[in-house]
Amino acid sequence: MAKGVFIVAEQRDGALRKVSFELASAARKLADSLGEEVGAILCGSGVEAMAAELGKYGVDKVFVADNAALEPYTTGAHATAVAAVVKENDPSILLVGASAQGKDLAAALVGKLATGCATDCTDVKIDGGKLVAIRPMYAGKCFGEVLVSGTPQMASLRPNVFPIAENAKAGAVTKVDAPVGDGKTKVLEVQKEAAGKIDVAEANIIVSGGRGMKGPEGYGILEELAGVLGAAVGASRAAVDAGWRPQSDQVGQTGKVVSPNLYIACGISGAIQHLAGMSSSKFIVAINKDAEAPIFQKADYGVVDDLFKVVPEMTKEVKKLLA
C-alpha cells in the first residue's frame, strides 16, 4: 500500500530553489492530515550538503541521488533517477514544482510511472484519504478539481502560490544509488540571461506593458518601476507579436499564466486571453487612458490616465517609500 507524501526538491547552481521549500511546506500539510511522512528526492552532483535544509520545512527523510550524470539537469537522467526512488519507496503522493524544470520532469515521470499528474496546481488538499488537486484550466478561464487514480498521485505546484512554513523535522539523509538513464540528451551550453532578471513565472510583482507602450522604447519606464519594486517586466501578446519584448515575457493563454502578489498592467486593454493569464494575481493595478478598457473589470485599483505620466511618478513615490 502506497504511503507517504514525496516531493522532488529542485536545485540549481549549488542551492535549493525556493519552490523546493514551497513543496516541502505543502507536502507537510498533506502528510499531517494523512498521518504520514514527508520524503524528498534530491538529484544532482555534490548536493548532499543541501539536503539538511529541507528538514527545516517539514521533510522527514531526504533521498539523495548524487551522480555527475545528474548535473546539469537533463530530462532523461533525472526522470530515470526519480522514478527509481519512487518505485523503491512507493509514496502515495508525489509533488513537483511547476517550474520550467519541474514541469518537464513531472511529465516524463507520468510516462515512466504510468500515472496521472495535475499540472500547475494552485491548491491541494486531502479528501477521504485522497489527493484533490485544484488547477486552472483554459489559462484560468475555469478551474478543475483533479483526482488521480494512478500511483503515485502526482501534482505539480505553481511557484509562488504555496506559503513556506518552517516546521523542523529530522530531514534524515539517505544516499541512493539511482540509475541515470541512457544519456541520449545532453546540455551543450547554458546561456544565462542578464543577471538579476526575474522570470515572470516566478515573480512576486510583475509590471506588464501592452500595445499602449507604443514601442519597445516605452518599456524603459516599466523597467525603472520594476527595478525599484524588485519586479519582473511582463508583456501582452500584442507587444510580443510586435517584436517589442521577448517571448519569455509574454503573459496570457499563449504565454505564461501567472499569479503574483501584484500585477501592474500598463497600456493593456485586457484581451480575454490576457486576462485569463493574470486574473489569479492577488492584487491588480490597471493604468490605461481608455476608461472602457476591459482590464478595469479585473483591477483592484484602476488609474484612468496617461501611463507615460503616471508610471514615472509611481517610481518616484515607491523610491520615497523605500528610502
Binding site: 516524463a108 484533490v132 475555469c142 483526482l147 541520449k184 551550453e189 485599483y301 511618478e313 513615490e317 515607491v318
Partner: protein, 276 residues
Amino acid sequence: MMLNDAVVLDVAPFGKEDGVNIVACVKQVPDTEAQIKVKGDGSGIEEGGIKWVMNPYDEFGVEEALKLKEKMGGDVTIVSVGPARAMETIRTALAMGADKGIHIDDPALCEADAYATAEALAAAIKGIPYDIVFCGQRAIDDDSGQIGSILAELLGIPQVTMVTKLEVAGTAAKATRPIEGAQLVIETALPAVITATKGLNEPRYASLPGIMKAKKKPVDVKKAADLGVAGASKSKVAKFVPPPARPPGKIICADDTPEGKAAEVVKLLREEAKVI
C-alpha cells in the same frame, strides 16, 4: 526510413533518398478569444458557440515539421485524438502542407487524460516509420503539458520540451529551450520527441490550392480497439468550477492629476493591499 535501421543509415544518413519521416501531433481546442462557461453540474464546459482551432503550440510543431521536410525531403504525418470535428484541424495541417493524417476518433477517448491520450498516440505512431515527432508544448484547453513527454517515454525515445530553436543534422538534433533566467542548448539523439513553443517559427497560413489539395490527402480514421488501447485514464477532472469572482475594484481619482493618482495608488498598495 527508420533511423535506428543501421543498414539504411549506411546508405543514406538522414534519408537523402526517401527523406525524413516526421510526425506532428495536433489537438483541436477552443480559440483563445473563447469565453469558457462551466456547465451547471460542473461536469465540463459548455461547447455551444465555441470556435474550434488548431492548438497554437501545435501549429509551431506542424510548421517545424514542414520546414524540415522542405529542407531534407520526406513526409509529414499528422496524428490527432479527438471527436469528429477534430478532422477539420487535421485538414488544416494537411492544407498547410502535411501529407497524410491519422484521426483517432473514439468515444472511449473523449475524456481521456494525458496518459490515455498519449497511449493512443503512441500506438498509432508505432505503426508508422518516424524519425522525429513534434507536439505542442501544451494544449491551451487543459493546459496539462504532458503529452509529448509521456509519448516519448512510451515510444522509448528521448525528448526535448519547450523548444524555441531546432537544428537537425545527421542523426542528432540541437534544440534550444528556455528555463528561468537562461536558455539551454540541448543535443539529443534521434528519433526524439520535440515539443514546440512560441519563438520556434512563424506558422504559415494554408493557401487556397493547399486547401483544395488537402481534401484529397489520405486520413486514416482509427478506433481505440484498432490500436489496442482502452482509454484507461489515470486521472480525471472530477469537477469544473468557474474562477473565483474578483471583488469590484476602485478607480483612483485623487486630485485628478497623474502625480496625485500615482501617489494614491502607491499609498494604497502599501497600506491597504500591503503588497509593496
